[in-house]
Every structure is written in C-alpha cells, then in structure tokens.
C-alpha cells in the first residue's frame, strides 16, 4: 500500500446526516480518519449549513459549503478554487449521486488544479442509470427485473395484468425513491408523487419477493474489482435505509458485482443493490455510483474501501480480499453543539473552523 496519501488533504462531500437517510460523507471521512497511519487533513463539503458533518471535528478538520448541483459547474469550480486556494486539496471524494455529473464534467479542470478524483466517466454513469439497467444486465449476464418507463399514469390500471407481473408493483423515481404499490389506486398516487418530485419518466417494475443484499465496491477502471464488502440490512429506517447490518459472504452477489464492473470498466466506488428472491435467484435492483452511507462497515471489517480509493489515486493497485462475514453495525444518532458564531460563519462565509467544547458553552 502506498503511503503518500496518508498525508493528503482530502475533501469529502455528502455531509448531510439526517438519521432516516444519511449521506455517505461522514462515514467516508471516518474511514479515512481511522485508516492506520493517516495523518492528513479531511475537509467536509456540504450543501446545507445544517449538514452536521461540516462541524463534526472527529470526522472533518474543517467544513465548507458548496453550491447546490443545480447551480451548475461554473459555480462549483469557482467555489472549489476558493477552497483549494486555502487548503490545497490533494483528492476529492464525491459522495452524492446528484453531484457526479458535475464533477465528471470538471474532471480535467480538477486534475489541472492538482485535485485527484476517481470517477467513472459520463458514459459509464449513464449506463448504470435505473432505466439503462436491462441493457447493461443483458450485456453483463446478470438478472434484473424488467422495467417500463411511463410518462402518464393511465396505463398503470392495466399494467399488472397486461405484463403478467401481477400486484404488487414497484414504482420508482428516475433518480431516487421507490414505492411498493398493491393496487391501481396506490400506483397512481405513487406515480403522481414521484413524477412531481423527480420528473419523468416514472419507472415501474414487478415486485421481487425476497430480501435485499448490498455490496460496496471499488472498480479499478480496467474491469477489475479492487475490493468488495457485502452486507445485509438487519434493521431499517422509515426510508428503508440500513439502521443495522451485518457483513455477509454471498459468492453469487460478488460474481454479480464482478460481472457488472467488468462490463462497465467501472472506475471508482459503487454500491450494488440486489434482491435475493425467495426462490434463491439474485436480481440486480440498482447500482449507485458512490460509496453507501454504511461504508464505515468496510473499515470495521478490515477492508477500508475509501482508503483503498486514495491508495489507487496515489498510483497503487490495491486488491483486497472480500470482507469476512459476521461483522455487525448498529447506527445511532447524537447531537453536536456549536457556537452561534460558528454557524453564522458557515451561513455567511460557507466555512466552519474548530469545535467548541461543551464545557466552554456551559460556562458562558
């Protein structure tokens, strides 16, 4: 393993951490902070002044606000240049789906600034989009449920019978969110909500009865999987996110990820979400182009994938064995305290410095 990256300044996005659906940023930062020998600086980048990772010094040495992805690349590169001038960023790890297209378009400019990123490229990002999965899976030799793209709710009435899928169905937003619906009424309601929130088309798939399994991995850009950690959720939030989970060894899931990474020549982190049907068959549900929020489990299981990503960026070719089964995590929520001045500084200047000890707050 290379040692160069252990002294880097690393910027990590996705510092939002609402308990029901946390961003992956703090977990990625924690992986780096706890990586053996790491003595570099970690910068948390967020889009909202209430993103707690911006202030949590156990994870990040400083926090900076970024413009929302909708502001465009010019605003993003301008802001990154300001932060870079102050911090000399060596590497950047984007952790939110919506940020990926912008960072991909800026990849060469970031490289020219000396900021290393490990990104899949626009074509590969598009090839793993929800509505592209059937074509990708056909090429890769992987099972995935069929999918219908709908631009109106009318055909929902007859879709279940016309396709032979029956009820329930799964209605999905183009970028995010999925709802299990059991009748045309529920389907229409879900369609309207998802269309309003995420736009068209809305995607519909047959429901796979079984349990979800997930794999976090790191593609080397040459068709290989540099490392993988598989996990089964043991407790869920209201949004279906993992509140507790355990590492598993599922060879079929590992093979599925290997095939997908090979078919895509995937470069960078990814999460493979799959369903193991009650008949034992494994179905790909989604590929997320980033580390998942549970990625700290990779460090706990001895396969620190964010550290391996930095290792790769420093020119090494890490190859980690799959993580062992039986390492559990249980998530929890906690509060942090900060001075009003620090919050004001974030609101006005988009930057947060060091934390304020609770004792100091109590004394005032």
């Amino acid at each position: 393993m290379s040692v160069a990256w252990r002294h880097w300044t690393v910027a990590v996005t996705g510092m939002n951490a609402r308990a029901d659906n946390p961003g992956p940023g703090q977990a990625v930062a924690r992986c780096l902070r706890e990586a053996p020998g790491f003595s570099g600086r970690i910068l948390g980048l967020g889009h909202d002044a209430l993103d707690p990772g911006l202030y949590r010094r156990e994870s990040c040495d400083a926090g900076y606000l970024l413009p929302y992805p909708s502001a465009g690349e010019s605003a993003l590169i301008e802001r990154l240049a300001e932060i870079h001038a102050a911090e000399r960023i060596d590497a950047l790890i984007p952790c939110l789906d919506a940020e990926l297209p912008g960072f991909i378009r800026l990849e060469k400019r970031l490289a020219a600034m000396g900021i290393r990123v490990l990104l899949p490229g626009a074509a590969r990002l598009r090839a793993r989009a929800k509505d592209s999965l059937p074509e990708l899976c056909r090429l890769a030799g992987v099972d995935t449920p069929p999918i219908r793209r709908l631009t109106g709710p009318d055909s929902l009435e007859t879709l279940a019978s016309e396709t032979g899928w029956g009820w329930p169905l799964v209605v999905k937003g183009g970028f995010y969110d999925a709802v299990i619906v059991r009748n045309p009424g529920e389907a229409k309601s879900a369609f309207q909500r998802l269309a309003a929130q995420w736009g068209y088309p809305v995607l519909v798939q047959p429901f796979i009865d079984g349990h979800e399994v997930n794999l976090a991995g790191l593609g080397d850009g040459a068709g290989g999987l540099a490392g993988a950690v598989s996990m089964r959720k043991r407790a869920l939030t209201d949004k279906g996110k993992a509140w507790a989970g355990i590492t598993i060894r599922d060879r079929a899931l590992e093979e599925m990820a290997e095939k997908l990474v090979a078919a895509l020549n995937w470069r960078g982190p990814l999460e493979v979400e799959a369903m193991r049907g009650t008949d034992g068959r494994l179905w790909l549900i989604e590929i997320n182009p980033r580390f998942p929020a549970w990625i700290w489990l990779s460090h706990a299981a001895g396969r620190n994938l964010p550290a391996a990503l930095l290792d790769m960026l420093s020119g090494a070719a890490p190859k980690l064995e799959p993580a062992p089964a039986g390492i559990m995590f249980i998530r929890y929520a906690e509060e942090l305290a900060l001075r009003l001045e620090e919050f004001e500084r974030m609101m006005v200047h988009g930057v947060a410095g060091g934390p304020v000890p609770l004792r100091a707050l109590a004394a005032e």
Binding site: V213, R232, R249, D250, R276, T278, G280
Partner: protein, 89 residues
C-alpha cells in the same frame, strides 16, 4: 414437500456446512447474514446433517442420544428441516 426434498432444496449438507455453529446454540448464516438459536437437539441435528448423515440415520442417532422414540425423533427432525428451509432460503 418431503423433508428429504426440503433438505435438498436447501442445498443439503454443503449448505449446512456453511453455517457457523457455536456450542451455545447460536447459529450464523454467512450467506444471508441471519442468525438464530437452536436448542441442544437442534444443534445436534445440524451437526449430523452437515456431516452428510441421511435423515433416517440422523433420526436414529438423535433417538439414541436424546432417549426418545425413533418415530418421534424423525418427526421432530422433519419439522426442524422445514424451519431451517424457511430461515436459510
């Protein structure tokens, strides 16, 4: 489905050999991530089946070791296989 068929559908002795068994009765399936507890009889049955004993032979051994009628042991074993299939599939 007969217990033999259920055991075969489960993956037989090979699948059961993947399970991590503790003397406390704690059983962990590394493929599914699920865990459950087995009593002394269940643990003994699992150990017999994963070393490849047939259901008949396993029931005979359980009958002897736990001092129950062979028919009772076999009936218990059949129920246990059904439960295992539900937990491990």
């Amino acid at each position: 489905m007969s217990a033999e068929d259920a055991l075969a559908a489960l993956g037989g002795a090979e699948r059961l050999a993947q399970l991590a068994l503790s003397d406390t009765g704690f059983v962990f399936d590394p493929r599914s991530g699920l865990s459950f507890s087995a009593n002394d009889t269940g643990l003994a049955a699992l150990r017999l089946l994963r070393r490849g004993e047939s259901l008949e032979a396993a029931a005979d051994i359980l009958s002897r070791d736990f001092e129950v009628e062979p028919r009772e042991a076999r009936a218990g074993l059949d129920i246990f296989i059904t439960q295992l299939r539900r937990r491990l599939s």
